[in-house]
C-alpha cells in the first residue's frame, strides 16, 4: 500500500483572498442591516435579504470551506443534502399554508 496521494493536492486561497472575502462579508452584512431600516426597501425586503444572505453563504462555503478549489465529491456530498433540506423545507411551508395570505 502506497503512502502517495491518489488525488492531486489542492491549493487553498492566500491570505489576501481571505481578507478580501471578509471585507465583502462585512459590507454585505452592513447592507443587510441598512436595507432592514430603510422603509423604501419594505416591498422588496425579503428577496433582497435572501439574495444577500445567499451571497454570504456561497462566499464562506466556496472560499473558507474551500469547495471552490477542493474535489467535486465534497461539493456533491454537501450540495445534495442542502438541496434536500431546502426542498423539504419549502414543501412543509406549502403544506402548512405559510405562503397563504391572511
Amino acid at each position: 500500500m502506497s503512502d502517495q496521494p491518489t488525488v492531486p493536492e489542492h491549493r487553498h486561497p492566500g491570505t489576501g483572498t481571505y481578507l478580501a472575502v471578509a471585507a465583502v462579508l462585512t459590507i454585505i452584512t452592513l447592507v443587510e442591516v441598512g436595507v432592514f431600516y430603510v422603509p423604501a426597501f419594505k416591498p422588496v425586503l425579503v428577496p433582497v435579504l435572501l439574495v444577500l444572505s445567499s451571497a454570504k453563504f456561497a462566499l464562506v462555503v466556496m472560499f473558507y470551506m474551500h469547495l471552490k478549489s477542493d474535489h467535486k465529491l465534497f461539493t456533491l456530498v454537501f450540495s445534495l443534502p442542502l438541496m434536500l433540506a431546502l426542498g423539504v423545507g419549502l414543501a412543509l411551508l406549502f403544506l402548512y399554508g405559510a405562503f397563504v395570505r391572511g
Binding site: 500500500m1 502506497s2 503512502d3 502517495q4 496521494p5 491518489t6 488525488v7 493536492e9 489542492h10 491549493r11 487553498h12 492566500g14 491570505t15 481571505y18 481578507l19 472575502v21 471578509a22 462579508l25 462585512t26 452584512t29 443587510e32 442591516v33 432592514f36 425586503l45 425579503v46 435579504l49 435572501l50 444577500l52 444572505s53 454570504k56 453563504f57 464562506v60 462555503v61 472560499f63 473558507y64 470551506m65 474551500h66 474535489h71 465529491l73 465534497f74 456530498v77 454537501f78 445534495l80 443534502p81 442542502l82 434536500l84 433540506a85 431546502l86 423539504v88 423545507g89 412543509l92 411551508l93 402548512y96 405559510a98
Partner: protein
C-alpha cells in the same frame, strides 16, 4: 496552502474529510428542519412577545459580525498551521475560540434579556421555535469553541505541526458551517420579521 493526503483510499480522498463533509450534509437536514419549523409557526403565536417587539437587531448585527470574523481567524489559523508557523497558529486559533466565546456571551445576554421580558421556551410558539433553533446553534458554537481550545492545547504541546493540518481543516469545516447556519438564521429570524 497545500495538504498531502496521508493514505490512499478507494475515492483517492482522505476518509476523514469525506466523512466530515457527509456529517455536514446531515447537519444541513437538521438545521433545515429547525428553520422550517420556525417559519411554519411564524406569526401563529396567540400571545406575545412577538419577534417585532423583542428582537434586538443592532446587538445581533454585532454578534453576526463577530462570528464572521471568527471564520476569517479560522482560515488564517489553518494557513499558519499548514506552513508551520506555530506562533501565528496559536494566535489565530485563540482568536477564533475567543470570538466564538464572545458570540456565546451575546447569546446568553440575549436569552437572559428575553426571559426578563417574558419570553421563555414555553411562552408561545415563537418562544418555543426561537429558543430551540438558536439554542441548537449555540450548542454547536459551544462544541466548536471546546474543539478549538483542544487544538490550541495540542499546539502548545508541540503536537500541531503541518502534518496535522488536516485536523485543523476539519475543525475549520465545522466552524465555518456553524457560521453559514448563523448567516441563514440572522436573515430568516432577525431581519425578515
Amino acid at each position: 496552502v497545500t495538504h498531502a493526503h496521508a493514505h490512499t483510499t478507494s475515492t483517492g480522498l482522505d476518509n476523514r474529510k469525506l466523512a466530515f463533509w457527509t456529517f455536514i450534509g446531515s447537519e444541513c437536514l437538521l438545521f433545515g428542519s429547525l428553520i422550517s419549523t420556525y417559519l411554519i409557526y411564524k406569526g401563529r403565536s396567540v400571545r406575545g412577545p412577538t419577534p417585532q417587539e423583542i428582537l434586538n437587531i443592532p446587538l445581533t448585527s454585532v454578534s453576526t459580525f463577530d462570528l464572521l470574523m471568527s471564520s476569517l481567524a479560522m482560515v488564517l489559523a489553518l494557513a499558519a498551521v499548514a506552513r508551520g508557523d506555530r506562533v501565528r497558529a496559536r494566535v489565530w486559533l485563540g482568536a477564533t475560540a475567543l470570538l466564538g466565546a464572545i458570540f456565546l456571551g451575546f447569546q446568553a445576554y440575549e436569552f437572559t434579556a428575553f426571559v426578563h421580558e417574558g419570553l421563555t421556551i414555553t411562552t408561545n410558539l415563537f418562544g418555543s421555535t426561537f429558543f430551540t433553533l438558536t439554542g441548537f446553534h449555540g450548542g454547536h458554537v459551544f462544541v466548536g469553541v471546546v474543539w478549538l481550545l483542544t487544538l490550541l492545547v495540542r499546539s502548545f504541546q508541540g503536537k500541531l505541526g503541518p502534518d496535522k493540518a488536516l485536523n485543523v481543516e476539519i475543525a475549520g469545516l465545522y466552524w465555518h458551517f456553524v457560521d453559514v447556519v448563523w448567516i441563514v438564521i440572522f436573515t430568516v429570524v432577525y431581519l425578515i420579521q
